[in-house]
Amino acid sequence: MTIDAAYLLQLTLNGIALGLLYALIAVGLSLIFGVMEIINFAHGELLMLGAFAMTFALPVVGLLYWPALAAALLATMLAGLVIYEILLVRLRPDEFERSILITLGLSIILIHTVQYLFTATPRMVDTQYGFDGIAIGTIRLTWTRLIGAGAAIVAFAGLYLTLRFTQFGRAMRAIAQNREAALMVGIRPRTVARNAMILAAGLCGLAGSALAPIQLVTPYMGQFLIFKAFALVIIGGLGNIPGAVVAAVALGLVESWIGGFFTAAWQEGAVFVIMIVVLMMRPDGLFKRGGMRVG
């Protein structure tokens, strides 16, 4: 096969769009880990809930993209709040294994409840944009992919500004950097953890609702993506947000390129192979964790 530039560019653009979606999930995981020192196994299910919310909201608002997106975002943030207040609030810091088992149980419950209520049949979602898109030369991008990538970039910019310049975000960074010191200056870990959980759930919901028009919606869609996101936060260094973003976009590119030239098996396996190699060389991930640094 000859490698022509347009094909390569198309793969690159697809890879960036894919990587940004991975980044939305991985950043939420990293944020939760930074603030609460737990790993949320049910994070993929938040994404699945976001996609399902989008599926049900779209027909109600007459296939309009933005109102449905807003509804899906609200629904997942609410889900994040409920999960925090019912389950995660009871965890003390340093109960890592317990947090995994509890969120694993939650993930089992969510997947199978959704499957029981709505069956495992994959759903197609149609939006006002349909399969329309823009074409530059021979390269085609659908609106739904473009908007997904754009929303992700806006979300990262918003997250950066929030963490950097607002009291709300500074409190999160303070807890992530030094829990005791943050307590001493009067920051409430409980409130901050709740905010972090809602924020992370919102990012994940955004990823889910942006994915809904691009691929099939099934109860298992989150589980598949979350395992990749786990590998990404390890590669990027646990709790390191910029590290997770860089690793996620890089993975999107690598997967897209591999997918363009090799079989699908290599595309799916790439992330795990990369992770094992990275762990061999740098047990703490590529970007060593130094609290939650932004910028």
């Binding site: 389950l87 029981y116 590998a231 646990l238 098996a265 396996g269």
Partner: protein, 313 residues
């Protein structure tokens, strides 16, 4: 006392094929024995050594495929297949365990999980070896001393002998000096180091032994199913092992064995719908983590301690 109870329990299980002629009940008995062995191996890794390893699922699958391929592709016997399953898993565990055990416990959990997923992908996509999603059907029944173990009752003896042998081995290991060292590493690793014990060889040994036993259990189980395909690596198995260990009580040897037998029968009792059953599993897992985080055995121990305190007052 404990030995007498264990001996009587083992004998009672040996008698199952004489008490019933129902192939269904015997099938449940076989699953109970094999799942208990796999859970006991996870208990060695998680309960005793404190390493929450999701790689057990991968080892279970590798064991199943290794045993099936030894028989079907390489023309070996069932016994060689199970032996290869154990040896191959032990070797893989050493290779995977060394880099992952060097990381912190957070990264360890995630990397063992990704290892299990990688095995699933290989089982599905390396079609020339594993025959992909179609799997390998019609696994032949084991043979020994001119005897074919072709009925469920006969296969039950194999599962029983395997379970008794591995559980006895694990008990000897867990109650030895090595077992106590593992518990010490779980409770306080810096203190263990200060006593002049290097944790790494012990952790690696526990990980490899757990992997070998899980693999052998997977090898025996796929011959009970008579077919192996990528659903053999369903996350459901990992959840079952974990729930058995947690309900039984992490680090309590006999608690996990008892929970293994009891909980393997439970899915058969709760047979209304696949999804409802999984929802109940999830609820049990979450509830157990809040109500009795140290399992039934831990709860009983606390009750006994409370009663003793009360008596002294």
């Amino acid at each position: 006392m404990k030995f007498a109870a264990a001996f009587l329990g083992a004998l009672a299980f040996a008698a199952l094929p004489f008490l019933t002629s129902s192939n269904y009940i015997i099938g449940v008995g076989i699953s109970a024995l094999i799942f208990t062995v796999a859970a006991a191996a996870l208990n060695l890794v998680y309960g005793f050594t404190g390493l929450l390893s999701f790689a057990q699922l991968g080892f279970w699958g590798i064991g199943g495929y290794a045993a099936a391929l030894t028989v079907v592709t390489f023309g070996g016997s069932f016994w060689e297949g199970v032996l290869w399953a154990a040896l191959l898993n032990g070797a893989i565990a050493l290779v995977v365990g060394y880099p992952t055990l060097r990381t912190n416990r957070h990264a360890f959990v995630i990397s063992t999980l990704t290892f299990a997923l990688l095995v699933t992908l290989i089982a599905r996509d390396w079609v020339s070896l594993t025959r992909g999603p179609l799997g390998i059907p019609n696994l032949p029944s084991p043979e020994a001393f001119g005897q074919r173990f072709d009925t469920p009752a006969k296969f039950y003896w194999i599962a029983w002998a395997f379970a008794v042998a591995t559980i006895a081995f694990l008990y000897a290991l867990c109650s030895s000096r090595i077992g106590r060292t593992l518990v010490a590493i779980k409770q306080n690793e810096p203190l263990t180091r200060a006593q002049g014990i290097s944790p790494m060889p012990y952790k690696l040994a526990a990980f490899a032994i757990g992997a070998a036993i899980t693999g052998a259990a997977g090898g025996v189980y796929c011959f009970e199913l008579r077919i192996i395909d990528p659903t053999f690596l369903d996350f459901y198995y990992m959840q079952t092992f974990l729930i058995i260990v947690i309900i039984g009580g992490t680090g309590s040897f006999w608690g996990v064995i008892a929970a293994g037998i009891a909980l393997s029968a439970l899915p058969e009792v709760l047979r209304f719908s696949e999804d409802l059953r999984m929802i109940i599993y999830g609820v049990i897992l979450v509830a157990a983590m809040f109500v009795m985080p140290s399992g039934v055995a831990g709860w009983l121990r606390e009750r006994r301690l409370a009663a003793m305190r009360e008596a002294l007052r």
